[in-house]
Amino acid sequence: MLSFVLRRLLLVIPTVVLISGLTFVLSNLTPGDPAFAVASRMAGRPASRAEVVATRHQLGLDQAPLSRYLHWAARAARGDLGRSYSTQAPVRQELFRRIPLTLELALPAMLLAMLIAIPAGVLASMRRNRPSDQLMRMLSMAGACMPSFWLALLLIILFSVRLHVLPVAGRGGYLHLVLPVVTLALAPAAVLSRFTRSSMLEALGSGYVTTARAKGVKESSVVAKHALRNAVVPVVTAVGVNFGFLLAGATVIETIFVWPGVGSLLVGAIQQRDYPTIEGFVLYAGVSFALLNLVVDVSYAFFDPRIATGSSV
């Protein structure tokens, strides 16, 4: 198990090196001079040539790309991701400030998704092919196909513009959480409910459940004690995977709801061509997704030891 974890941890390194290199190459392929944008933004008007030259020097853009990458990589290895083009503040500081803000949305959203999906999935599996099952399948299919940015706008129209019960956007009290969390929870809820249902069906169809039934154990206790306990393991790990994707989905939702998390940091950085911030974000995302995947795999291997002994990469 330990060597499995170590092997997986080591794999994170080439991933991060490759992805940061790719980001750097791409940022150099882009037409346009970020120095102009930065200088113009500071001046509030088109920047003059002198201002652009000075800004280019200040940002280190007058050095060769390779030496810039090596400098960046050397500093990144020490945890220094450079400074944002737009605020001149350290990228790492801004990233770390915003990660908890994204979690402020993502954790309740995941919780909400689980609270909806797991009971719904279990129920549906118990009433297979009955109307309630069909309804859940339709809802989860609709949920998976719904563009979340559309849903967000519909919810804003209804609850903020028409009914005036929830704030339009921004971070504030609990009320500010409601719309973004609900929107964000939709996709994982849809996927998780399908997954829970199929895991439950798998468990309900297995031999020991049949045996338990044959022994005359009550159906509710068959479900709770035998089926659910076996279905919970894959579901819990699925939650882990879904959480990663929920974090990714937060980019659009944060933009719509003006939520100052990492997602809107990326969107803002893209709009302003703030390369250090984009690169820093990619690095952060690479590391965190690699670690998240690792946690998911390890937890899975932990629940099912057959996996760790398998050897295929």
């Binding site: 991933t15 490759l18 980001t23 791409l26 392929l29 882009t30 037409p31 297979r128 092919n129 399948r137 299919m141 998976a144 196909c145 719904m146 563009p147 979340s148 940015f149 559309w150 706008l153 129209i157 513009v161 996709a187 996927v191 399908r194 249902r197 199929s198 895991s199 798998e202 468990a203 297995s206 020991y208 306990r229 076996n230 393991v233 894959p234 699925a238 995977v241 990663g244 994707f245 990714a248 989905g249 937060a250 659009v252 939702i253 933009t255 719509i256 969107v267 950085a269 893209i270 984009i278 974000f281 998911v296 795999d297 899975y300 629940f303 099912d304 030891p305 996996i307 398998g310 990469v313």
Partner: protein, 338 residues
Amino acid sequence: MTVTAAPPSPAVAHPALPSQVGSPRAAIGCLLRDTTAVVGLAIVVLLVVGAVLAPELAPHDPNHVDVLRKFAPPSAAFPLGTDNLGRDVLSRLLYGGRISIGTAVVAGVLIGVIGTLIGLVVGYRGGILDVAVGRVVDLLLAFPPFLLAMAILGLLGPGLRNLTLVLIAVAWASYARIVRSAVLVERHKEYVEAARASGASSLRVMARHVLPNIFTPIVVLVTLDMGIVLLEISGLSFLGLGVSPPTPEWGAMLSEGRTYLSQAPQMMLFPGLAIFLLVLGFNLFGDGLRDAFDPQTRRLPRGRRRWLIAGPRAAPHRGHRFSGSSTPAVRRRRGVGT
């Protein structure tokens, strides 16, 4: 350990792929009996026809500006109302379908084709190429594709061409992985060995023997993927990374409509509905297609059929452990979050 039951079929070699292809006639019959699949197909066909026949069907020029009739509510002349420049929303929606559906189909098919080709070559050749491509695949699968596409597009700059390229660049990997493992299974089977022994070139062996076996499942996956690609396109366009105005595209229209949320809800209502319906259509049809072409599930009772597949598809174990245990569709759907 109290866990005794196996998790949903990790033992199946590639559960994402219907392992054998049933006879086409049986499959089609089965497909037509599947109401939801027929509904899905009908939605897709309707929207595609609308887009293809846009010049005939559209009541107005989609880019004709008449500021004096802006924000008109739905009426006989403008069935879905007008937008902030007085352009007909219905006409823009129909023309927009050409870009939205067209891009989704082109990108979806190219993702499937490129991924399949890479998987075939890598699986068959093996060696250092396999290892190298495997690393890249690992890398791509470690990220939610939407996030990766967004970051790359942010660096490359927006535009429809870049958007399509980026979507292909981040999404081929899962196909390559699935096809590669399918090839590995087939490669050592007797008939392939025999064909090779009889002097057939490796390319021909692949084309003749391996490809037909994986063709149908790949088509199913591409269909399912089409909806995801559409969601990604519209999501990226919504963020301003896709087509530039005045070209009508559903995501971009939705994004424009966001500005006029309260005066002209039709501007965001209908493009969103179109995206939703098309994604739904692709998914329903894709699901039906998969069920129909998979004899293993066809034998099962109706409800069970869909979910048996859905289970492993959504399985939490990642691709690098169980080749293809998570299909692009589900994996990527979760990544879109849009």
